[in-house]
Assembly symmetry: none
Homo-oligomer: 319 residues x 2
DNA sequence: GTGATATAGACAACAGTTGGACAGCTGTTG
DNA sequence: CAACAGCTGTCCAACTGTTGTCTATATCAC
């Protein structure tokens, strides 16, 4: 394995590393001072900058410590040795030490995030679900989505792209996140007078987690949510919107970002919908189709923040 | 057998040994003091560190003790002698008796089914979920799966084929059924000693509900279930099976029924799995690949009934 | 200037060690 | 059969080692 310059370049200031590892800044410095676990590059002013390799190393150390290793004993190990050790502990551990139990006291989103990542890596669905459930209890739904689930999805996505995560891990995480999001959505109103939003993903779009985030958010804001999942033809979306008397149709677009059929689909949707029904579009891949949105008067809402504001304005019923 | 440096190196602090052996820290020290069962290395600060060999020895001792041996008598035995002893005791051990699953009084499955269908047609997620939840309360899990959910899936599938149901309806039902099945599966064991089954769908197979039925069933029968969802490459399935120490890999095959790549995938899976791990295959589309199953020694189980029988025979664990 | 980050040292919480006590059993002995 | 002694797992108290966090103060970057 050769190192790409990207990986050795010291690019990450401390706060990023905190976010990605779940270790506190204090602890990072303590480990560095006491055990020389990493030697981050220093800016002229003395600020630390960590490379991808450093971050990776820290994550491995953290996992090993979590598994019961003493930091003093493992600090000197190479990445390879650490990987072997972590793997061994994952496989040999008779009973998974209850990670959540120790974390109950802490309410920091980063901790939930890093626990969730570790559970994902260990293919431990139960631990992952427990972590997210705890996070759900401790954080507001908005914070849960913004600071745990969204970053988790993002990180899993990038780890997966980098080849550091197998599809199995990604599937498992999808599975569990789906359940947790469903749980959030489920709590929502059944009040038939509440405004209704239909959430789906247009034809060709297979990533449904973004749509689930939308559904969960809307449900939090008092909307009646009709969640239909991924990859639906415009006509069917429109028919369902009519049948359920939806006020809004929300679409999530992630990938692909160059589907030439999509603008046409949007147009068909617009035509098939009753005049009063609004269309909103969001998701990380939505920006590529901006002009198509304008053509049908769809509201482009990148990010959950914008979505929230829009939901609030368009129907001011906070929960 | 030569000893690698890895095995004699004192790498494990007590916590790890406790995890791996199930013995308490107190007991470890008591055994050491009284019978010198092991002589762990000491750190400068006096902390104990155990080698792989120590851990192995302790495991054997623990098994022998659990089988009824007196620690004082076996403390001095060599590893070889201990292994022989443990094997002997295992063979003499009494078989656990299988308890047949109890049948709960059956309600009226047809009524649930028709209500569920109506809710599906009306795009009423809440009503559908309530119906299934009621059915789950009233029927045994087996009956729920056999007489409500399976027929519901089948009916929805055929209505959809006949053009009498829109994809929206199907998606909505999928959504809800997924949640209900997840709920059944979730209740399952977390006992790490329970036999483990990995459930997934091979590459190219996108219908995951069959797999979810398998997962729910196995969980009912006391198995530890690792559910990974649809469309996974063999290599990843195998890797996950190793990591989770699965005893069985269960695949569900629905559509397509003429994927020429599938036999090859099965072969790769078989090769990548450890020898002891069984493969089972089921699902409505599985019959098309029978010869491929034979080639890899996979168990062909059409229908949940066969699956249940197989699960029971292969590991008679009462629930 | 303000908010983030740096250092050094203090500190509290926790984990691990030792020696000893103790209670539940088991098998032996009078 | 009762008393006894040995075995065995657990618990405790007092102490030490290890580790994460906190404080005070200074510096950096925008």
């Amino acid at each position: 394995m050769s190192l790409s310059p990207r990986e050795v370049e010291p690019r990450h200031p401390v706060r990023i590393v905190v976010q990605r590892t779940g270790l506190s800044a204090d602890l990072l410095r303590a480990w560095e001072k006491r055990y020389q676990v990493v030697k981050p590059h220093r800016s002229p002013g003395g600020q630390r900058y960590y490379s991808d390799i450093d971050v990776n190393r820290l994550r491995l150390l953290q996992r090993a410590v979590r598994a019961g290793r003493a930091i003093s004993r493992i600090a000197g190990l190479s990445i390879d040795e650490l990987e072997r050790l972590v793997r061994e502990d994952d496989e040999q551990g008779i009973q998974r030490e209850a990670t959540p139990a120790t974390d109950v006291a802490a309410g920091a989103p980063e901790l939930f995030l890093s626990n969730a990542l570790i559970a994902t890596e260990q293919l431990d669905a139960r631990a992952l679900e427990n972590t997210l459930r705890q996070a759900a209890m401790r954080l507001s739904a908005d914070h849960l989505l913004d600071e745990v689930i969204s970053p988790l999805l993002f990180t899993i996505g990038s780890l997966w792209h980098a080849g550091r995560l197998r599809p199995t891990n990604e599937h498992l995480a999808t599975q569990v996140i789906r359940r947790v999001l469903g749980w959030i959505t489920e709590v929502g109103t059944s009040d038939p007078r509440a405004p209704a939003i239909l959430v789906a993903t247009p034809s060709g779009q297979n990533h449904e987690l973004g749509a689930m985030l939308v559904a969960a958010t809307a449900s939090q804001y008092g909307w009646r949510v009709l969640y239909l999942g991924a990859n639906l033809p415009s006509d069917d979306i429109a028919a369902a919107a009519v049948q359920a008397r939806a006020d809004v149709v929300a679409l999530s677009i992630v990938f692909p970002t160059d589907d030439s059929a999509l603008p046409g689909e949007l147009l068909r949707l617009k035509k098939a919908l009753p005049p009063g029904v609004a269309i909103t579009v969001g998701g990380s891949g939505a920006s590529s189709y901006k002009s198509a949105f304008e053509a049908v008067g769809a509201q482009y809402l990148p990010g959950l923040g914008q979505l929230r504001r829009w939901l609030r304005n368009s129907h001011p019923t906070p929960v």
